[in-house]
Amino acid sequence: MTLPSIARRIGGRTELGLWLGVASPLTLVLGVGGGHNDLLMAGLLVAGLAVVCQGSWTALVLGSAILGIASVVKTPAVAGLAFAVPIWLHVRQPHRRGLPPVRMIVSSSAVAGAVGIATMTIVSVGSGLGWAWVHEISSDISVVNWLSVPTAIAIFLKLATGHVSGATSLDASMRFIRSLGSALTGVVLAVLWFVALRRAPLTCLVIGLGAAAVLVPAVQPWYYCWALVLAGLVVTRRWVWIVLMTTIVSSVIMIRPNGRASRWIRP
């Protein structure tokens, strides 16, 4: 119901969207089989955007609340909340060229931001856990594998400079390069947000979520679901499909049936 409804408003082929987002082996084997909250976040993300795509102010308020709920399951959904604004503006005027009126950008951002943050506050305070989770996501995670680009660069640089024995240890140099990766994620998302105001907002969100899934300090293969859940609606080029298929199939092999990471993603 949700992906088809987004496809009707924004475009894209529903069957491809569902095939890649819902029925892929990555979603079912690693996502559901592994019991990862990424999938609950992804589902709420799609549901929130489907509501936003209805185009009314009420839809923007309700959709932003759902995206706020998605964000307190797992933080990447905050990107979905931010991109709700360009997506909503696009749905209201699909044939517009250039930027929407500044007045509309500011007022819709204010509404989406206020509703999303209010929802996150209510759940955070209501759960009795407060805002501590905001800090926790930025902390350095002990997962070290080459799926995270900054981590891979850190390992490569240490190997290249002769630090072979400590190449995969989480030391100051790896933390530094990882923090550069996190900063770059923010820059990429900000640039894509402004591009999304002009054109192809859903594509921009998919690219942003995909970039986040390879640039964050630690990556697990099921993080690709963040972008893949929507990617089927926006990918048209054949080579991109081939890359995505290869990623999905190899992700499933990366985690062995007993739940441990396979030898070849652990450096």
Partner: protein, 73 residues
Amino acid sequence: MMAHGINPYTFGPFSAPGPFTNEMSPRWVFSPAPYGPLWMQIAHAIVGVSGNHPTVAVLLLRLPVLVGVLLAA
């Protein structure tokens, strides 16, 4: 941990030892949770329903994930 009133964003699971930490990879025993507060409440509720039984809890944990997949369909 939450059943014991311990903040999962400050301490790792080692502060509430029991049948769950026995089944855990040592790597995660000292790590505070990286998940949002709603997910923590869902996990808390599932542990309650499972009667503190890790196998039952692990199976029940698939339910909210399945809800997520259905939400995207």
